[in-house]
């Protein structure tokens, strides 16, 4: 008997539910929807460019793309206020862009350039921009859920109404830190919003093979006295509504929320992983359940002109092209940079 319930390597395809067409009539302003459209394009085009740069040998190290998962980052990017806090995982390019960081410092960081968002020190897995509330991308699974609690607590102590959002994967729900963080937030009614991007897989293993519940985040919520919302993570409107409600609740002292957003990565876990452990029909169904063309159609249905949408995606494309060229021609970090910023005084000295 295998220790887990599922047969090894023979997992069932998990197919998406059809988009909920009634969300077209959801109470979301049209200018917010235009922003959701733009942000999704910013993320998709950025990630596609990063993938191309990887194939061309410009991106060394690793990179984890969120192609197919853009609606989640875009929705939170639109729903959060500038001073709110985001905490993401190594799959954090999109969440960083969604908080308003432009493509140039992101691409430059991945290329290991001096003009990178964190000067080449972080790389793909460690983007951060405190100015935009992007409090970092964390590559050790689980940590940032607990850290987000600290930011939410700090907001309360400082008397602000800032909220803290932690984005994490389905796989992260099985590490102790997830459970510690959720219990802690619930107990102290912290303004933390836990957003599980359930893309059905950890690295190469389906979450269903190692988890005895269907919704790895939402089904655990009752154990901590919390309700959870499960949404179609590929529908920006659905995620936006859930985000808005959770943010409002956190801001008004109502405590934490868990949102489980069902989604899928179009590609593999990282870099050149072709993702072949996934059933063909599953991949196919999710490729068709693509957040971007769906949202395009929704805006057309709402009366936005094709020319307006083309203009936006064209602007984004031009911005990504400019950013790519600038990042490519930027210099490497200077050798002295190796020694900077270990300490708050800017240096790294440890002896006299």
């Amino acid at each position: 008997m295998p220790l887990s319930g599922a047969g090894y390597g023979e997992h069932q395809a998990v197919l998406p539910q059809p988009f909920d067409e009634s969300l077209k009539d959801a109470p979301i302003d049209l200018d917010v929807r235009i922003e959701l459209f733009r942000k999704q394009h910013q993320i998709r085009q950025l990630e596609k460019r990063i993938y191309d740069l990887f194939l061309q040998g410009f991106v060394r190290g690793t990179s984890h793309l969120s192609i197919g998962m853009e609606a989640i980052g875009a929705a939170f990017g639109a729903a959060l206020r500038p001073h709110d806090y985001s905490f993401a995982t190594y799959r954090g390019h999109g969440h960083t862009a969604a908080r308003g960081v432009g493509p140039e410092p992101i691409i430059a960081e991945l290329l290991g350039k001096a003009t990178g968002l964190v000067g080449g020190k972080g790389g793909s897995m460690h983007l951060a921009s405190a100015e935009q509330g992007m409090m970092g991308c964390y590559a050790i699974i689980g940590a940032h859920l607990c850290i987000a609690n600290g930011a939410a607590w700090s907001a309360r102590v400082r008397g602000t109404d800032q909220v803290a959002v932690a984005f994490f994967g389905d796989g992260a729900t099985n590490i102790g830190a997830f459970h510690e963080a959720v219990n802690y937030a619930a107990n102290y009614r912290l303004g933390t919003i836990f957003v599980c991007e359930n893309n059905l897989y950890m690295e190469y293993t389906p979450i269903s093979e190692v988890t005895p519940v269907t919704h790895p985040a939402a089904d655990r919520a009752p154990a901590y006295g919390m309700d959870a919302t499960v949404v179609d993570g590929n529908d920006a409107d659905a995620v936006y509504l859930a985000a808005r409600a959770a943010i409002e609740r956190a801001r008004s002292g109502g405590g934490p929320s868990i949102i489980e957003a069902k989604t899928y990565r179009h590609g593999g876990h990282s870099r050149a992983d072709p993702g072949q452990y996934r059933p063909d029909d599953e991949v196919q169904a999710w490729l068709e359940h693509d957040p971007i063309p769906m949202y395009h159609q929704r805006l057309l249905d709402l009366g936005v002109g094709e020319d307006r949408l083309a203009e936006i995606s064209g602007e984004v494309a031009a911005e990504i092209d400019r950013a790519t060229e600038a990042a490519k021609s930027a210099p490497e970090p200077a050798a002295e940079e190796l020694w900077t910023n270990v300490w708050a005084d800017g240096g790294s000295q440890w002896r006299n």
């Binding site: 690793t62 897995m125 460690h126 293993t205």
Partner: protein
């Protein structure tokens, strides 16, 4: 003899031990169905089945706890912690539980288990996926620590670790996975606590570990071209430590250099320097010099990562300048 990659040697070593002893089981994240995220453990699930080769959730504490409990009760588990940086989330099990079981039970209960892990830098993974942490492990009484540098050593030390009655942390170097080496046919069983002299020279002793071994050898070649002949020793096993081989070499060369990938403070070379300073003092003709990664986190930008790690150039230049 066959030529294998260090990557292939991982599964060869584990399979050799699993065939020999049905008590050997193997668990970790993505290790079974996917054959490991570094593709090091392909074929083990197919050969030994899902009872003995287990894909786990992302639950490092549960992994090491299960390995420990199984080891206390008759199995010989091999657990994988994918990147050595992740030891930080399950260090309680290493430092407080596994390491102390034998002592706290006055020898009544042992923990014969192996924890393998991808260690080290060179892949541009940044500060949280590139660390060399063998010195963390070395600081805990009750844990044995090995770090092989070749495919043959990896197989042999895996076997020795599995057969050892004590807990062993086995560090595979991620940047060595694609490297190749000759591997003898038949069963390979090595010995913990044995360093290996890879090159003889009378001007200095250079001790290195894991990825630093090929770099020290390359530096030795360059130095030889300048007329400086150094002995290169692959330490291989930090706990137990083969002090005899190192002290013996220093007695012949009178100079010692360590080449360490770990950040400088409390790196393994500091312990060796201290032992040689105490026990080999009268053999030394000059100061011991440690060549290490500076005491810094690692950057992801390729040029910064390369600057941080000792390379053949820095090793050769330092040795030449020191010897004068």
């Amino acid at each position: 003899m066959a030529e294998l990659t260090y990557r292939e040697a991982v599964a060869v070593g584990i399979a050799q031990e699993m065939r020999r002893d049905p008590a050997v089981v193997f668990l970790g994240e993505d290790v079974a169905g996917a054959g490991g995220v570094f593709k090091t453990t392909s074929g083990l699930l197919e050969e030994f089945g899902p009872d003995r080769v287990v894909d786990t959730p992302i639950s490092e504490q549960a992994i090491l706890g299960a390995a420990m409990g199984a080891a206390m009760t008759g199995l010989r588990p091999i657990a994988e912690i994918m990147f050595s940086d992740f030891f930080a989330v399950c260090w309680d099990f290493v430092a407080n539980e596994i390491a102390k079981m034998s002592y706290m039970t006055d020898g009544m209960v042992g923990c014969p288990l192996v924890i393998r892990s991808g260690n080290g830098a060179g892949l541009r993974f940044g500060a949280q996926h590139s660390q060399s942490i063998e010195n963390w492990a070395m600081a805990v009484p009750g844990i044995k620590v090995v770090a092989p540098s070749t495919p043959a050593d990896l197989i042999g030390l895996t076997a020795a670790s599995v057969r050892d009655p004590d807990p062993v942390l086995l560090f595979e170097h991620k940047a060595l996975y694609p490297t190749k080496g000759e591997v003898p046919d038949g069963e390979i069983v090595d010995e913990l606590g044995t360093a290996r002299v890879l090159r003889h020279g009378s001007d200095a002793t250079v001790v290195a570990l894991a990825l630093m071994v090929p770099r020290a050898l390359e530096a030795a070649e360059r130095l030889a071209a300048d007329g400086i002949e150094v002995t290169v020793i692959d330490v291989r096993s930090l706990v137990p430590l083969d002090t005899a081989t190192i002290l013996d070499s220093v007695s012949q060369t009178s100079r010692l250099f360590t080449v360490e990938e770990n950040p400088r403070l409390c790196g393994w070379g500091a312990e060796i320097s201290s032992i040689v300073g105490e026990e080999g003092f009268w053999d030394l003709d000059g100061p011991i010099v440690r060549i290490t990664t500076p005491h810094l986190p690692l950057a992801s930008a390729p040029n910064l990562e390369d600057l941080a790690l000792p390379d053949a150039d820095r090793i050769a230049v330092t040795i030449k300048a020191t010897l004068g």
